[in-house]
Symmetry: C2
Subunit: 314 residues, 2 copies
């Protein structure tokens, strides 16, 4: 399986930390020191999870190596849905005219992008799909409570699209060496550390400490799993793309792994946490840095909890 291309979409509206001073009482420097975040994007009133997904796909389809009519599977990923019936994938299918595609929506919170990739792997293994679009889109502002001083300032909106095929296509295909996911619903305070209950109040993160501890441990472990599965080592990695939830989590991971600054791709400062779209957006923004033979690992941790990792060779 190959990821031929990454693309992304970000809303035009930027919200800086100063906005929160009168909203949840937190000051710019306080937020920055604890989260690494200075600003984040916010969807406009006529944007939502589906429209952002469509824009991300539009931004990349011409470099995917296949046409809309050749797409045989679209997997949408999100925990902040606009419509749970006419889902992300259905909206993309209708918009681009991918009339032959199977369509499904998935979520394992911030881990969903890697779950979607593992599902895509399965369709390729069965011979049921050759050209696949995975599109992750989060409209956090639709569900978050901006007046919450624990998490209101953490979230950003955005979408990422991945164009995948069984054979390499396009100008810069990356070969998927290994995908790993695991559910961690049984671990720690997974049942109420982060939740998004649409009927009873939206997105909340009351137990950030439990999330932090498990995120740094599990994201590190997931990298080890995909390296062990491929008999590769940390020393051979060129880049690490970790879920962009919090600058401290990313720094902790960097220290654990003794990585140089330029090996760690991050945009947390200007994007906040864009959920399951975060690694896709971040890597799309850095794709020009990637050279032939580069080894890249994605590692993600999701509320609920879930963990996942992806190993790519260029």
């Amino acid at each position: 399986m190959y990821i031929n291309h990454f693309s992304h979409y970000l809303p035009s509206k930027v919200v800086s930390n100063s906005y929160f001073e009168n909203v949840n009482g937190l000051e710019d420097q306080w937020i920055y020191e604890r989260t690494g975040i200075r600003s984040r994007f916010k969807a406009t009133d006529d944007e939502n999870t589906n429209t952002m997904a469509i824009e991300a796909v539009r931004n990349g389809l011409d470099q995917s190596g296949f046409s809309a009519g050749e797409v045989d599977l679209i997997i949408g990923a999100s925990y902040s849905p606009y419509d749970t019936v006419f889902t992300i994938g259905h909206a993309v299918q209708r918009e681009i005219g991918a009339n032959a595609a199977k369509v499904v929506f998935v979520s394992s919170a911030c881990s969903s992008l890697i779950n979607a990739l593992e599902i895509a792997e399965g369709y390729i293994a069965m011979g049921k799909a050759k050209n696949i679009i995975v599109v992750a889109s989060e409209h956090n502002w639709a569900y978050s409570n901006e007046s919450c001083s624990k998490s209101g300032h953490l979230w950003g909106d955005g979408a990422a699209a991945l164009f995948i095929s069984s054979e390499p296509k396009g100008k810069k295909p990356g070969r998927v060496l290994n995908v790993f996911t695991q559910g961690l619903g049984h671990v720690g305070k997974a049942n109420d550390s982060v939740f998004l209950r649409p009927v009873s109040g939206g997105l909340s993160m009351p137990n950030g400490r439990d999330v932090f501890i498990n995120a740094v441990t599990q994201m590190r472990r997931a990298i080890d799993v995909v390296l062990e599965n491929t008999k590769l080592t940390v020393d051979e990695l060129d880049y690490v793309v970790a879920h962009q939830a919090n600058g401290r989590i990313i720094s902790n991971l960097q220290k654990q792994m003794k990585l140089a600054d330029d090996q760690v791709l991050t945009h947390i400062k200007s994007h906040g946490n864009t959920g399951c779209a975060s690694t896709g957006i971040c890597f799309s923004q850095n794709i020009d840095r990637i050279k032939e033979d580069d080894l890249v690992v994605f590692t993600v941790f999701g509320g609920g909890y879930s963990v996942g990792a992806l190993l790519l060779r260029y």
Copy 2:
């Protein structure tokens, strides 16, 4: 791939048509003639999509042929989520102690059960899973608008669990001969015939006519696809389990296919539309009728739109 066992859960509370007379102005006989529905189940205040999923799994795990510790994948399915972060699968994982499982949540509206089965097929094809729980759960009452005279009376709550493995296990495993799904987001009024937009008003079905026309056409077509893929014919089918959305859709399908009454499994009269859980609940209730060598087809249609079919040999 084998489905070793089906189980289900229904809430204790029953709401008969007479309830709606003062709520959306529709009378019992009017509803019954147009939908085939006399009553439906409603979750109690302390129940939700996650709790019903857990109960459905509890009701069947001891007949699954595997233990909780042996489960390597849990796929939750729903369009009416309680929590999009700590999802159905995460809740089941935590409750039963399926600590080794991968966990993902999926939706293609009322089609999701078949999408989940196709994803399960992929994990088995990759060798990444051997024992899988697929659990579909819908809490329609949490999102529906009971005062809507177009669709308020259609919905019911409930959950179904399917216990799946790569080899036959348990007392009555059914062999999966074929699974088919397709996205139909490009067809008709798929973008606004049925929607559930959590932020802006919940579950609605303003274009029932477009749904009806496409449902009867596409569910019939999906059956043909799985029969063609396996070189079997309609005459060889013993039972048909169609998505339980509306009695008229099921009758139309029966007439198109010239099926005898006892070949068509239905519970629409006493359950209403339980979304993606409907075929699973209905088949679980009829499992004692199934004999060795019986050929069973499931066919589903989902808002958004999507279609799917499953062919099982006992």
